[in-house]
């Protein structure tokens, strides 16, 4: 009985994912350019939030410096496109490899610490990255940042795909984000992912099961930082101009809010949180410059009344229904 129910549940989920994908593919056909641009940014932020949550929700480590990997990915890609070569593929690779290296170097030191000490160290490193991007005028353009990043054609063998159009870049983002989310989802369901969850639950005990706990923390840190770098890499040619504010600590707070809003212990929670966060910000900032006050109030209400986030709440209800209680 229990088993057949879980199969139905699994089938429902499959249809759910298929339906969501179909809807995402159809977006450019039905929505205005303005909304397609908005949807592209939303997808990028979904990837940012989901990769952040591998460290936060799964491993139990709250990083306050994830804007660093996002902006390294963005600057790496942007610099390569505007100064070296207009090859999108190479530019993405450069951005991603740089964020991987930086995540490894910073993570190496951070994973030795727990809780608030970990959070503070990630914040400190994040501010260092911000200072470098802001002050290194000759390379990064300083406070002005990079302006006029090209959004070139993408050629594989004989086929050339046009990404300079709004729908073109939307589809590129959809494919890249889709692949990354699938990889992150597999990681969360792997033996490695289970070890991450057990570290979150009781990191001291994990060592006494014969597991080199810190290496797994570092692994989670690097994977998380690298995928944030992918989000940043997509962001640079999307925005066409980037400034150091994308590495400021307030940017690091965004995936924290998104994850809490959507639910940190359900894989797709931060995706829902990111979408809602961006939607609310867009709506509220259309009415008032003080949108942060309203958004803040909404977030406080969520944290107090729905501590598991939106998806956490829904999945608790569903599980309770399945157990018949």
């Amino acid at each position: 009985m229990e088993k057949s129910r879980s199969i139905i549940w699994g089938k429902n989920r499959f249809y759910g994912v298929a339906l969501a994908l179909l809807a995402l593919v159809l977006v450019p056909f039905f929505l205005s350019d303005f909304l397609v641009v908005f949807a592209t940014e939303m997808l990028i932020m979904v990837l940012f939030a989901l990769s952040f949550n591998l460290l936060f929700g799964y491993t139990g480590l709250l990083s306050f410096g994830h804007a660093a990997y996002f902006s390294i990915g963005a600057y790496g890609t942007g610099l390569f496109l505007s100064r070296v070569s207009p090859s999108l593929l190479l530019a993405f690779l450069i951005g991603i490899v740089f964020s991987f290296i930086v995540a490894f170097l910073i993570g190496y030191f951070c994973v030795r610490l727990d809780e608030i000490y970990f959070a503070m160290l990630t914040l400190a490193f994040g501010m260092m990255v911000h200072a470098i991007l802001w002050k290194w005028d000759s390379l990064t353009g300083g406070a002005d940042g990079l302006v006029g990043i090209p959004r070139p054609k993408f050629s594989i063998l004989l086929a050339t795909i046009e990404f300079s159009s709004i729908p073109g870049y939307y589809y590129l983002t959809l494919v890249v984000v889709g692949i990354c989310v699938f990889i992150l989802w597999r990681v969360s369901r792997s033996p490695f992912g289970l070890v991450l969850k057990s570290i979150r639950e009781n990191h001291e005990r994990v060592e006494f099961l014969g597991i080199a706990m810190r290496r797994y923390r570092l692994g989670a840190f690097v994977i998380s930082g690298t995928f944030c770098g992918v989000a940043g890499a997509l962001f640079a040619p999307f925005e066409r101009s980037i400034a150091p504010d994308i590495s400021f600590w307030t940017k690091s707070a965004e995936p924290v809010f998104m994850s809490l809003l959507g639910g940190t212990k359900v894989f797709f929670g931060p995706a829902v949180g990111a979408s809602l966060f961006m939607y609310l910000r867009e709506i509220i900032s259309g009415y008032t410059e003080l949108w942060m006050i309203y958004l803040g109030a909404i977030l406080i209400a969520f944290v107090i009344f729905l501590p598991g986030g939106i998806l956490g709440f829904i999945s608790d209800k569903l599980n309770a229904g399945r157990r018949g209680t």
């Binding site: 057990s198 006494f208 014969g210």
Partner: protein, 248 residues
Amino acid sequence: MEPILQTQNLTKSFGHLMAVNRVSLDFKEGELTSIIGPNGAGKTTLFNLISGKTKASAGKIRFKGDDITKLAPYEIVRKGIGRIFQITNLFPELTVYENVRVPVLARKRETSRLLSLDRSLRDVNEETSRILGLIGLSEKSDITCNALSHGDQRLVETGVALALEPVLLLLDEPTGGMGPEETDEMVKFVRGLNENRNITIILVEHDMRVVFSISDRIIVMHSGGVIADGKPDEIQADERVKEAYLGR
């Protein structure tokens, strides 16, 4: 026969306090040893030293002849020394199944698989289910541990001990907080590990009825040092022990 575990002048000081003071002990393979002593005698610190949780101030620990004094806890576990904790120390929001699965994955060295779906590892699945059957919690495998009764949580702990397949098992107050029936079950379980699986066992225990019925050997600690060491009847007859500890 060479001792399986050996401490040589093992010392741990916290400031001026000598928690463990020049302790030299040999443990024979297959033996079931209990360590007793009043609170603050240094029993738990000795366990922490052997399992690598705290580092020794001086002295050495050898396991099967290898120096393990400076190894990290996970390396010590991989050598075959398992430890079950005093306070129930599980992964509260993970299910019973996952709590037993993690040590199985660790022993089979499968924990670094990044992209394979966890449920696809057949031998790990079978081993996990087998252990759940042994501890009698197959029916409760999908329940999270924080929803279990205290007794069932102790059962999960024993499942973890089985999953690790240790050569030497350190048990920290295995019957702590248990009623008489649960205590008898636990005694039977520990004896089974020792006799049927030939696991060398060292336990810290306060229940003297358990200690004197189960042990091949009893070590009495007091203020960081060993004041008596022998068979249960020798310890019962020892004048110093009566004076310092049993209070008779």
